[in-house]
Symmetry: C3
Subunit: 449 residues, 3 copies
């Protein structure tokens, strides 16, 4: 009787990291001015924190949505819900700090609701990567991967949004593409031997686990409009809500139909239903606040659903067999390809953006198109300078996705190689997708169908 | 081995419909003025879309609530959660268009959050009908039924609310009664042969499926105050929240007690717990913004719970055996009877509504009671004219439910007959309530308990 | 074949109580002025009820969170979700009335959203007590216990908050400590015989039931910031959100690590994951609006997670074996000890609270520190008088937890003795943790793992 779950040194390392976080929180953080006591006796009652409902919706997506979506494996439900919580709880703290380092005042990160919204969104990228690797790495490897990824995520996000003024309100470029290709690159670095480049024995659903996965999937579907609209206000926010809703609805119908048409005996496939129905939320992400017209959202959703199902049916098996890139949840089909499509859509819509259509909001939506004379306050420096034309902005959108993919892939390969170091226990083929290795289970040997 | 799930032509038809929707969105829709860019550099930050949290609560009800409530069948969980999503995704698009056709400006439906709230609510009526037919018709039949139903729903809603100025803020008349009796009429049109007029072999719960159903039931319970208060503002909204809360609480206690008292060995029955506890939300729907006093809500909830449990225990089995009307989820007991009760309550409270009690809000709550001189702007035309007395308004409330029932029943019978056309594959008795017919399942033959 | 579930007289008693509630609602309640029709034709559209999103989050915690957290037992899922709903539906009505009796105007309790938020929070204390006793008492005993507990809860809450001006925004003292020790005292009064002072045969999880429990646990985790911030506004509210978020994140990481370190073979334990991850929300509750600095929240969460896991691993088994105090859900480790810790933290932070740090908000946060000259309107009378120093306020915080514990323990013992009266059927050892005793189940004898 060996104890394959044991990795005391790994858990001690994580405890140490938590203590380091504690110290850094002590030294480097403080309250945003909005959170400080105000003098004068103005009535605070009825004061509303405008983004709080949006935050809570996103919070449900991160902790219930991702966690339960990953319960589809028949014998990995403790890990799906539990490790999702563990990884996210570690990463949100790290994301608050890492993102904060790019925006300190006098050496202090001034915390407010915005920071925890940002931390939740950053953590989504790690959970996407986790989907690619689900059941194939140890909890310790997963958590270390998350810490590496947050560093690169925060850097790339700052580069894209602050320095390059890329438009990406729904995070398709910075979150979905980044998370998916980072995870796939890690997966490639950890690729199995040729004889093991096939789906594991436990890499499938049971009847019950598939229904648990719908809890996650449907909550992601429901709250995606909040994810895509949390970072804008006013008319942009309401457009983002409407577009995401329409894109998801059209995507869902397309997913079901295409799933039936490409499947054996024309039966519906729960993998498609759980995942591809969400691709419309990803694919509309980078253009969600633009004037894409309602029909634009419907078109994007339709394309995304079809693309995603086809990816699950034809591409993923090939990637595993030929490329030895495992992708347990198929994040390439749900997050990867739809996000790249979204970036391309964003270049197209930026290309045709005019002052006539957007009015003054052209410059708040595309801040890179402001004249330098229109900048307020301290002179920001952005890559390539202000005063871009629509065509130039389109170019920057494409540059944004290219740089993001490069950072994600190189960073993922590097991270994957690090996780192969002998310091880390590697999972054996017969330990994959199996809670019993790391969890006390009521019935260590029994597998339900 | 035939392939009973195959219905390529049906799925192709649905894809065609989705493309037609796409074209109509392109031609007939645009943004509401609130969603258009605004000129001038007013700060949009902190701007709140007031109904967005309500929308998200309703969205949870439609996609998690209804979807999981229907998972109670032991072998129909993929269909419950999956087809609920499919049907709803198709119907919300169609509802946006159909409802929009009644409110176009220069041939354009101007979209905003209100339209997707309305679309979600309209879709609830289809999901209620689906409950009556759950497991008894094919996915294609279900979707076609939904398309028919939305046409009639939108027409009846416009007739009741705009032309007849019926009071029905919680949608008991236009949504619950309509959806329930439409579904029951379809069920009657598709009634089984005499020997099959009994519960199917798989028409029951497993221990696990019953707990899944509680996910749906409890989320419906929790967010019902949002459903009932989404279309009003100010004091009316807060009253609607309070009344729904009290009615549901009283209904729930009554449901448990009556369930134990009428059941075998005085044991509790999960069917009652999952469904009848919600009847209080339906029964208070049409009066939810009126001055019914808190005790009015408690009384209504108590009556609704008892009525609903008694319906499940004694009426539904009779309807199936004698009338050959199948009602898998018992929507007659959860939505049908409580909604008719709500309409009657609305007539009673309208009858006694006075200017003394309501002040100026009498005319916003009961717009038909305005003097014609009080109409603002363009002169609306309503059936029977403005300036109704309380007694006349009460009459219109009763007329409203009668017309609604007529449209629902005639429309449902017609739709049911259409679904019996030989173009549609009909489910055989032994194919009912069985995911395996339409889904790839991990274990096509095994049935859990 | 006897019918152990039968208790007609109990259910009739509950129906009688529901009718009494109905009468009392009729006589003693009315609308708050905010819910009454307003004259003048001000536009109500866009009016927002500020606390409604918070209410709905708390509502999810009470009905989904607590209900599903308790589904972890392999054969008690109907009771967990069903009785949670039953108990809560009864107790919210009673809590509206009992809490209202302390705040009547001319003999009328004027109802608004605040009352149902308060009722939900009060009910949390009963559900916590239910956790200690889960599966060990009959539904009738449970409901009667809830009615007793609400009386004491409302009295103690009034005493602490209104008369003693204790700071306890997150309810750690008034809700968590009260509910936990009340439940444990009931459990002690009903303690088993020596030979039965061990975990029951069915007192454990199945693979599926553990995942259901995660639905509840994660929703509690997600919405805890709303629970802890619902009763404050402005900067205090945003601090409460931030602190709860940080405390839970740090607590979760600590929980996983300590769980692995203290468990057999260093495997993770779902009991800890489901429960101890939440202890950070409890432990920060009484100080959640104070200026504890972000690092204070991280420290508190870290301490709470470790304390809670250690409690589950070492203390609870001892309490059962030596003290014969059963605690099915381990509420002592999730609610009891962390809440006492929170009270101590509140005394410490009160001790060091200064006008320099808090500005004018010192007197809204610690109303007992106001000079009597600063009281507005009618002169309130508080225990010990106004004008407390920081040190005195710290003393009152400690006094608050001591009095709360005394009331909870004495009240719980008394309640437990009442539940042992021969009028009540007592569960036998072999009837414990078993739905089949009180529910119609699809398979009365089969037990899944």
């Amino acid at each position: 009787m060996n104890t394959p779950g044991t990795s005391v040194s790994g858990y001690v390392l994580l405890l140490t990291i938590q203590f380091v976080f504690l110290v850094v929180f002590g030294i480097c953080t403080g309250y945003d001015d909005d959170l400080r006591p105000r003098n004068g006796t103005q009535a605070e009652e009825g004061f509303i924190i405008p983004k709080y409902p949006h935050f809570q919706d996103i919070h449900v997506m991160i902790f219930i949505g991702f966690g339960f979506l990953m319960t589809f494996l028949k014998r990995y439900g403790y890990s799906a819900t539990g490790l999702n919580l563990f990884v996210a709880a570690l990463c949100v703290q790290w994301a608050i700090l890492m993102r904060g380092f790019f925006d300190m005042e006098n050496g202090i990160i001034k915390l407010s609701l915005d920071d925890i919204i940002g931390a939740d969104i950053a953590t989504a990228s790690v959970l996407i990567s986790m989907g690619a690797l689900l059941g194939r790495i140890t909890p310790i490897q997963l958590l270390i991967m998350g810490l590496f990824e947050i560093v690169l995520f925060a850097t790339n996000e700052f580069l894209q949004i602050e320095l390059m003024k890329i438009v990406d309100i729904g995070g398709s470029i910075t979150v979905h593409a980044f998370g998916a290709y980072f995870g796939l690159a890690v997966s490639f670095a950890l690729r199995p031997t040729k004889e093991n480049a096939k789906a594991g024995e436990l890499e499938g659903a049971s009847y019950t686990s598939d229904i648990f996965a719908m809890v996650g999937s449907v909550f992601l579907w429901i709250f995606w409009p909040s994810f895509n609209s949390a970072l804008v206000d006013g008319p942009e926010q309401e457009r983002a809500i409407l577009h995401t809703y329409l894109s998801l609805a059209a995507c869902t119908v397309t997913t079901f139909v295409v799933s039936a048409l490409v499947s054996k005996d024309n039966k519906l496939d729960m993998v498609h239903v759980q995942n591809s129905t969400l691709a419309g939320g990803v694919a509309v992400g980078s253009v969600v606040n633009l004037l894409i017209h309602p029909v634009g959202a419907v078109v994007i959703g339709t394309v995304a659903g079809a693309l995603s199902v086809v990816g699950y049916r034809y591409l993923s098996p090939k990637m595993l067999e030929k490329g030895r890139i495992a992708d347990t949840c198929g994040v390439h089909n749900l997050h990867g390809m739809p996000a790249v499509a979204s970036a391309i859509f964003s270049a197209i819509f930026a290309y045709f953006a005019t002052k006539d259509a957007y009015g003054d909001s052209l410059y708040t939506i595309f801040p890179g198109m402001k004249n330098s004379s229109m900048e307020e306050g301290e002179h920001e420096i952005i890559i390539g300078g202000f005063g871009r034309s629509s065509q130039q902005q389109a170019g920057y959108q494409l540059l944004g996705i290219l740089i993001t993919l490069s950072i994600a892939i190189v960073g993922g390969l590097f991270t994957g190689l690090a996780l192969k170091l002998p310091n880390f226990k590697q999972l054996q083929y017969n330990e994959m997708h199996k809670d019993d290795v790391y969890w006390e289970t009521p019935d260590g040997h029994h597998h339900e169908n």
